[in-house]
Symmetry: C2
Subunit: 299 residues, 2 copies
């Protein structure tokens, strides 16, 4: 399950309102139809941190109901361990095939805090878990030593790593180094979409993908090429999408851009982010629309 | 209200359990008896980010009930604007004299996000507000331009700034620069306890104090000396407390240290932090106990 393309849909949340469940169900159904390998509900792109535990339980249920049998991985991160435990139980009750856990922080966390969190959560879990390393949102930096301690805990099945070095040889060396540290059963998945082709070329088993959640076709094209060993083709597809990666960098991450893109495609209402997050302004949206047309991402 | 010593008590939270309301009430009462100028309930030291909105509403009520007329400033930060609005209403209903708002983030926030948040919240507020600038927990960095935009919003009464430059002349220049930017009605309060004496010497009106919430006596001694213009004495008191500041730096902030100190003084149970945050280990607690004895902080 933790290989190939894992597509992370938005959870559309209009400003100060509640989840647009209908639009979310459609987004999930669309990914199942496209044939992604798994669906990552309530990831960072799915704004899990902004929802109540009740809202998250409902969203997890909707995801599983509309995934048409495609495995759903549900984000269970929260500031308190007891919230994570509750969310894990809710996700399992909803039928999640796996869970994704980031060490969300307010007070900076120590390695022992994070190990204790994962130890307690995995001891209470009956589905596999993805370790979610996203320093841009959690502000926690994993060391290789901590990866190694965590990877042997029960249920740990994959690590979602942040972007790799630009240089292909260095990227490959990094993935090979991780492989030596980790049990054979634990897969390594790349995140940071701009690094996806490079990551798959370097030996990553999975792409935990933001654009896959809104533009599954190009993400699948890139992934299938890489899986078939056609890495040049995968890298070319990534290069073709460079204007998108540039927009991600320009807007401090991918969320605001894919949210505006989903609205542009008519998949969600225009207001689809939880305040205080503001979407792109009119000029930025117009520019994004041009990029989407030029890249032929409209179908 | 936003001058002098604002003391921030812990909210004791045992691991995966609920707030120890009795211990919290005692902590607040102790501050009122000591004669602090205001009480900052549910600040970062009060672990606001780890509590549900219901728990926060209860804690705000308990704080006001046990503050014996000392003004209580309640932290209202949350990831979603709608949660902040609800928390602000709950704080006002509880009798808060003011509120404290930090731009808590998961996805990185833009200046426009933060301005929009403060604009919406202050438009719905009938008590004064402190802008809470704490990049160590929010990972948001205020610019002077944003300070200036925010300071003219209705209800804005104070800014809680992070530590100042070490050099006294530079610190003074910084505070004087802020003064020129801000309306006369907006006070400037220093946070980062190690910088308190320097901050008050540099012209800050208030000290938003972590140790004041657990050790009100030395915090009051320092503040009263500074308020009387006896800055040498205030700086000496701060130097005397250097072993505490060293422990704060060593433990990635003040929270774990004051939590262990409060337990050592018998003010809370030993387990008083929300998991995944772990307290100091036995050896660290023993060292802290020695420091507390040597500094005569036991009464």
């Amino acid at each position: 399950m933790f290989t190939g393309l894992s597509a992370f849909p938005l959870t559309p949340i209009p400003g100060n309102g509640s989840v647009d469940e209908k639009a979310f169900a459609s987004l999930v159904g669309r990914l199942a139809t496209a044939g992604v390998d798994s669906i990552g509900a309530l990831g960072s792109t799915g704004s899990y941190a902004y929802l109540t535990l009740k809202e998250r339980a409902r969203v997890a249920r909707i995801a599983v109901e509309h995934a048409d049998g495609v495995p759903v991985i549900v984000g269970i991160g929260a500031l308190r361990t007891r919230q994570v435990l509750q969310t894990a139980e809710d996700a399992q009750n909803a039928g999640a095939a796996g869970v994704l856990l980031a060490p969300v922080s307010y007070q900076p966390l120590t390695d022992d805090d994070v190990f204790g969190l994962f130890e307690e959560v995995t001891a209470n879990l009956s589905v596999p878990l993805v370790i979610y390393d996203n320093p841009g949102t959690t502000h926690f930096t994993f060391t290789d030593e901590l990866y190694t301690r965590l990877a042997w805990l029960p249920q740990v099945a994959s690590i979602k790593i942040p972007a790799l070095p630009d240089d292909p040889a260095q990227a490959r060396a990094r993935v090979e180094h991780l492989r030596r540290l980790l049990p054979e059963t634990v897969t390594v998945g790349i995140s940071g979409d701009a690094a996806a082709a490079r990551g798959l070329h370097a030996g990553c088993d999975a792409w935990y993908s933001v654009i896959g959640g809104t533009f599954p076709q190009p993400a699948l094209a890139l992934t299938r090429a890489a899986q078939a060993g056609r890495h040049e083709q995968a890298l070319e597809e990534s290069q073709r999408l460079q204007p998108l990666w540039d927009l991600f960098a320009q807007h401090g991450g991918s969320l605001r851009v894919v949210a505006a893109a989903a609205a542009h495609l008519g998949l969600t209402a225009h207001r689809n982010l939880p305040l205080p997050l503001r979407g792109l302004d009119a000029k930025e949206r117009a520019h994004l629309a041009t990029v989407i047309e030029q890249l032929q991402l409209t179908t």
